[in-house]
């Protein structure tokens, strides 16, 4: 299951949703808004913008590939957009698999690939102004 949402992410619900009697390993990744960055010592909030339709398609491809490659039992990825405060969860990815190696690899693949292939942009807001975070050139999901 993949989702782009404006609402706060319910982390417990994400974790619970990948439970599976045949799974021995669950890995959850949370991306959270930090109070600082490499460029800004005091970040107050973060604004995320998305090209929703393309982002959903790219997330779906990540889901399909992760399930296929690591034979996952379940996969959930939710990315929040809009304005978030320090400590809030911007992205949650949970996977369950028979064994831990697959679960770790698949979860890390998902977040690494989200950062390269999903059209999302974030803007750091601090007391001294705001700036779009320097990102990476969007790659094709193919």
């Amino acid at each position: 299951m993949i989702k782009i949402t404006q609402d706060p992410i319910d982390v417990s619900a994400v974790t619970d949703s990948v439970a599976d009697d045949g799974s021995g390993a669950t890995v959850l990744f949370l991306g959270t808004v930090r109070d600082h960055s490499d460029e800004t010592s005091q970040v107050s909030e973060m604004y995320y913008e998305v090209y929703t339709e393309m982002a959903e398609a790219a997330l779906k491809e990540i889901e399909d590939e992760a399930i296929r490659r690591w034979k996952l039992k379940k996969f959930v990825a939710i990315h929040r957009v809009g304005t978030m405060q320090v400590g809030e969860v911007s992205v949650a990815i949970a996977v369950s698999a028979e064994h831990r190696k697959e679960a770790f690899e698949a979860c890390q693949y998902a977040i690494d690939t989200i950062k390269k292939t999903v059209p999302l942009w974030k803007k750091e807001i601090s007391g001294s102004g705001s700036r779009w975070v320097k990102g990476v050139k969007l790659e094709s999901t193919k």
Binding site: E49, Y51, A57, H79, I111, L120, W121, W132, V136, L138
Partner: protein, 82 residues
């Protein structure tokens, strides 16, 4: 033909609109043609030209790809999700 191009993030801010519009008297056109016309009509885009990516129907497109005015087009700056 009018081509509408969605804008996001820093590119949307630079242009000051959520959508750019350029006109061609023929179609299809190549992504390269689309980009150079965009840079002419919206000089604010030129500084970021090196890293802008065109998406056609929600897929990253090569410069040699061809597009028509009915395609869903978007101009995407460096991404920073997660």
């Amino acid at each position: 033909m009018k081509f509408k191009i969605k804008l996001f993030g820093s590119t949307r801010e630079a242009v000051g609109q959520k959508e750019a519009e350029v006109t061609f008297n023929h179609e299809p056109i190549t992504v390269t043609e689309l980009k150079s016309t965009l840079y002419t009509v919206y000089p604010a885009l030129v500084s970021g030209a090196g890293y802008l990516v065109v998406a056609v129907n929600r897929k990253v497109a090569d410069d040699t790809a061809t597009v028509t005015s009915t395609d869903e087009l978007a101009l995407l700056p460096l991404v920073s999700g997660g």
